[in-house]
Amino acid sequence: MSLDIYKEIILDHYKHPRNFGQLPSTQHKAQVANPLCGDSIMMELEIVNDVIEDIRFSGQGCAIAMASASLLTEYAKNKSLQDLTMLTKDSILELLSIELSPNRLKCALVSLEALQKAIHTYG
């Protein structure tokens, strides 16, 4: 069953994370950690007219946490803040195109929490 969750797309994003790193300077960032697993994701946003112009993530975590962060940054680019605040657990599972046990769900949601927290720093 678990092998199903480590599909090519997850492993690809885990091994080659997109938008990984930091923005040269931004006021809109947030870090969320899942101390139980040691997952920790920081999201940094460049926001222009309520739209994400650029985005980076950094941190460490399991394959699910890293891949979901990577996929989420790809998705979030050029999206409106309003759209992104509406994202839910199901949107992330759709992005990952897998099903997760409650234990691993936390790993997948760390990046969404960080993204939405970062958005809240924008007046």
Binding site: M1, S2, L3, I5, Y6, L11, Y14, K15, P35, L36, C37, G38, D39, S40, Q60, G61, C62, A63, I64, A65, R104, C107
Partner: protein, 407 residues
């Protein structure tokens, strides 16, 4: 010499899951049928509450219950008045903190523990120190994960009221030279109360409280083939006579009046309320079971499995794999917490689960130690006498396969 294949038949979980590789015995061990039967025997044949029942069934229950106290006392080389039943190691340690620590630790005093503790033997003392405005000190480990005895000498002082230390690390499996450590502490401050967490020691090695010369020693039944929800606190007679009761209720009193109450003598004054009778009765069966195998045989078998596991993983993964505490200068029980660069323990454990391997992924309730080694988590394989060479070989194959998926 014992036959593992014969012993394995004693464990229903192994029979019910023939392909399972259970490498999580440090979290909890599996239970042999004799222990399960003893629990069920209480409910089906005795049923009555212990102490003060003036009828045969209650007396039989009391007798079966109190027999365990004798067996535990003998097991630890203590006397029966020194054995208190609790719900587990955590409760045992907290009992010392609340029933004794609260009284003896004051502002400016010191409470000392070590970096390799399970949170139960770390946070308990840290919080006591905070409550009493005392200084909380932590004995560090060196790069091999070993406690530095010379460093202990620098940390213990005239104001050290409590020193708490684990016997065996639940992450690295290192068997601390506990007798030497106790001696070093006593040499500096003979009045320091010494508390030993033996949760990971009692399943694997012979423990003798007189030889160790500790004031308190705590362990749980469930890690040594016994039931969950049962623990033991050993306390030296001289210390127990000074300790005030911490929980009040039935069973622990002598006389109750509106203007005051008097309490039983130790150990009963520390056992308020109806205990886990069936579990405590069954604990003696688990002790007898281990004693029948003998700790020499357990140690020998575990050492063989541990060597196979460590050497096999090293051979296949080389420099890529780090085993926490593998370079310890002290002997280790069959516990291996594995760290592989570029892979996360949760991912590895998930893949291992596909191959029916039970391991633990995380910090194993030892965050300070993981922080010291600069790893957020590790994958822990913990073995016991019922594991086999074949299981170790299967584990190595699955583990290597899992690592390859992520690198």
């Amino acid at each position: 010499m014992f036959s593992i294949n014969e012993l394995r038949k004693d464990f229903p979980v192994l029979s019910n899951h023939p392909d399972l590789v259970y490498f999580d015995s440090t979290a909890t061990s599996l239970k042999p049928q004799v222990v399960i039967d003893a629990m069920s025997h209480y409910y089906t044949h005795l049923g009555a509450n212990i102490h003060r029942g003036i009828y045969d069934l209650s007396e039989s229950a009391t007798e079966a219950f109190e027999e365990t106290r004798d067996v535990v006392a003998d097991f630890l080389n203590a006397s029966r008045e020194e054995i208190i039943f609790t719900r587990g190691t955590t409760e045992s340690l907290n009992m010392v903190a609340y029933a004794m620590g609260e009284d003896i630790v004051g502002e400016g005093d010191e409470v000392v523990t070590t970096l390799m503790e399970h949170h139960a033997n770390f946070v308990t003392w840290q919080q006591l120190a905070i409550r009493k405005k005392a200084t909380f000190k932590v004995v560090p480990v060196d790069e091999n994960g070993d406690l530095d005895i010379d460093h202990i000498k620098n940390i213990i002082g005239p104001r050290t009221k409590i020193f708490a230390c684990t016997y065996v690390s639940n992450v690295m499996g290192i068997i601390n030279p506990i007798k030497e450590i106790v001696k070093a502490v006593r040499a500096i401050n003979p009045l320091t109360i010494i508390v030993i967490d033996a949760a990971q020691a009692v399943p694997h090695i012979k423990v003798d409280v007189q030889d160790i010369d500790c004031d308190f020693l705590a362990f749980s039944a469930h890690k040594m083939c016994g039931p969950t929800g049962v623990g033991v606190l050993f306390g030296k007679k001289s210390q127990l006579s000074l300790m005030r009761p911490f929980m009040f209720g039935g069973d622990m009193i002598l006389n109750v009046a509106v203007d005051g109450s008097t309490f039983q003598e130790p150990p009963y004054k520390f056992e308020a309320g109806t205990p886990h009778i069936s579990g405590i009765i069954a604990l003696k069966e688990s002790i007898k079971y281990l004693q029948h195998i003998t700790f020499q045989e357990i140690e020998k078998h575990e050492q063989m499995l541990s060597d196979l596991l460590v050497n096999g993983l090293k051979e296949k993964l080389g420099e890529k794999i780090m085993i926490m505490g593998e370079h310890s200068k002290f002997p280790r029980v069959a516990v291996a917490s594995l760290v592989v660069q570029g892979t996360h323990p949760h991912d590895l454990a998930d893949i291992l689960n596909d191959d029916q391997m039970c391991v633990r992924a995380g910090h194993h309730c030892a965050m300070p130690l993981h922080t010291f080694f600069k790893v957020p988590a590790s994958t822990r394989a913990s073995l016991y006498f019922y594991n086999t060479e074949d299981e170790v070989a299967r584990f190595i194959d699955s583990f290597v396969k899992a690592v390859k998926i992520f690198s």
